[in-house]
Amino acid sequence: MIVPNGRLGAVSEPFALSGDAPAIELRELEKSWRGPAGPVRAVRGIDVSVRRGETVALLGPNGAGKSTTIDMILGLVRPDAGSVSVLGGPPRAAVHAGLIGAMLQTGALIRNLSVRELVAMAASLYPRPLAVDEVLERVGLADIAGQRTQKLSGGETQRVRFAIALVGDPQLLILDEPTVALDVEGRRAFWQAMRHLASEGRTLLFATHYLDEADANADRVVLLARGTVVADGATTEIKGRVGTRTIRATLPGVDVAALTALAGVHSADRHGEAVSLICDDSDRAIRALLARYDEARDIEIAGAGLEDAFLRLTVDAQEDG
């Protein structure tokens, strides 16, 4: 395997449990939790295979089963049924070999160590770690390397957690909602670092409920809803299936029925002077809107709300079945 060898050292040694096996192989995976009102079926039969070197987004609303699936891939949770294989072996074997780096959805840092010390502590647990100072530089922590972990902001804490996931030089990097605590600049820097990691030949799997993030940063999107895969494909393909966009504008004294009747508009809604149009074809809708109401101001066009997308895709999935 030839991989570009970046500054971080990258996947320079082909070390794996089984050379040609997929990075992740999930077969008929199922998991239920005991809830107050009987068992909750968090994951109900997931089949996904992730090739080495792919960047895959696990997309879905809260409660879709993303975190449970990730916990099973990491061997933190045992599936009720089905199988998980990571880099050709059981998850725990891959973890013990130091092949996986992960950033869980929740988790604070332990106190009384500096940022550099904590990342160095994590590095000491892996057989072939990256240089600590290079990792700190890469994730934008070099300036605060000497600070104690209990004195960091939410965004800084998140970056330290990213550094910990990265410092073991993993072949497979798994991140559960990695950008939640980050501001705009933090997100930009984070995804830049992620693209670099992908270019080094690593396999990346991240969970998110932001469609835009999945779209911009993944080769492939696996859409989860209510514990099942409702779509799995290239981001462009999924976008085509989701399709909807929302136009928002300030437009006083207009009739909702008239807005709904515009070309390309699926449905419309009004709160005081603010109107929002959910569109099947936003290009046609914006032309029709401006042709008819040239007094419309503060116009915004945004991608589909994920909840809408999910409703559509789950309905489609049920109709197909």
Binding site: H96, A97, R111, N112, L113, A122, Y126, P127
Partner: protein
């Protein structure tokens, strides 16, 4: 090699936690001076054959070292609460290296507590032959084994908020029946005390001075509790890991 580095970082962050210092180091030291300084001329305390400053040195050392050992529980519960235990479970850190770091850290704190009390006792005129110091310290180190296990067990069962009261409560009760505050040589407390491992901690000085060691009873009690509590700790750890 790598797990030694991990232990090193654990030690570093533990010794930076000021709150633990107050309870594990400061409190026993202050109590020792309050009790022993005004009574330093009592050379045979209640027929034990040892001086009051020496008796309370081991009494409060048992208190401080028990606190030190069980403070591991406080740290473990804290790590569980913030999700650090889960983070460790997705690294190659082995269970053995994890537990070793906890035990080594607890013993390092206990050793510090013990050293401070030895120094305090020396300032009140306690002096013993080197062999007796060593024998006593060795017995204390062995007597702390059950408490290393107990700290780990509590840390994997309780929450951060409940480890403090649980540790304080257990240590305080044990201190009474073990003779930390006053010699227990007969009666109900003695009957109970002889069956708890901390009694033998407190007796480490007395038995060492008289050149007796613990005798069969002491070794059996300490060994028995070590086995029971280590089993409990292993169970608590396994149950906790399975759930995480």
């Amino acid at each position: 090699m790598s797990s030694l580095a991990y232990t090193g970082f654990e030690l570093r962050r533990t010794f930076r936690e000021r709150r633990l210092f107050i309870f594990a180091f400061g409190f026993p030291l202050i109590l020792y001076y309050v009790i022993a300084a005004p009574n330093r001329n009592i050379h045979d305390l209640d027929g034990t054959g040892i001086s009051l400053p020496l008796y309370y040195m081991t009494g409060l050392a048992s208190f401080g070292t028990m606190m030190s050992m069980m403070s591991a529980g406080f740290r473990i519960a804290g790590e569980r609460q913030v999700g650090w235990t889960r983070q460790l479970r997705i690294t190659p850190l082995s269970t053995r290296a994890y537990l070793r770091a906890k035990v080594v850290t607890a013993y390092a704190m206990a050793a510090t507590s013990l050293a401070l009390l030895y120094i305090a006792a020396a300032t009140l005129g306690v002096s013993l032959p080197a062999g007796t110091w060593l024998g006593m310290t060795g017995l204390i180190a062995v007597g702390l084994l059950p408490f290393a296990a107990l700290g780990i067990a509590l840390g994997h069962v309780l929450t951060v908020d409940s480890t403090g009261p649980a540790t304080g409560g257990i240590v305080s009760l044990l201190a009474i029946v073990s003779g930390t505050w006053f010699p227990v040589t007969h009666g109900f407390l003695y009957d109970v005390g002889r069956w708890v491992p901390s009694y033998w901690l407190v007796q480490a000085a007395r038995t060492s001075v008289h050149g007796q060691g613990w005798g069969t009873m002491g070794w059996a009690v300490v060994a028995g509790w070590t086995v029971v509590l280590a089993t409990l700790a292993a169970y608590a750890f396994a149950r906790d890991s399975g759930r995480v």
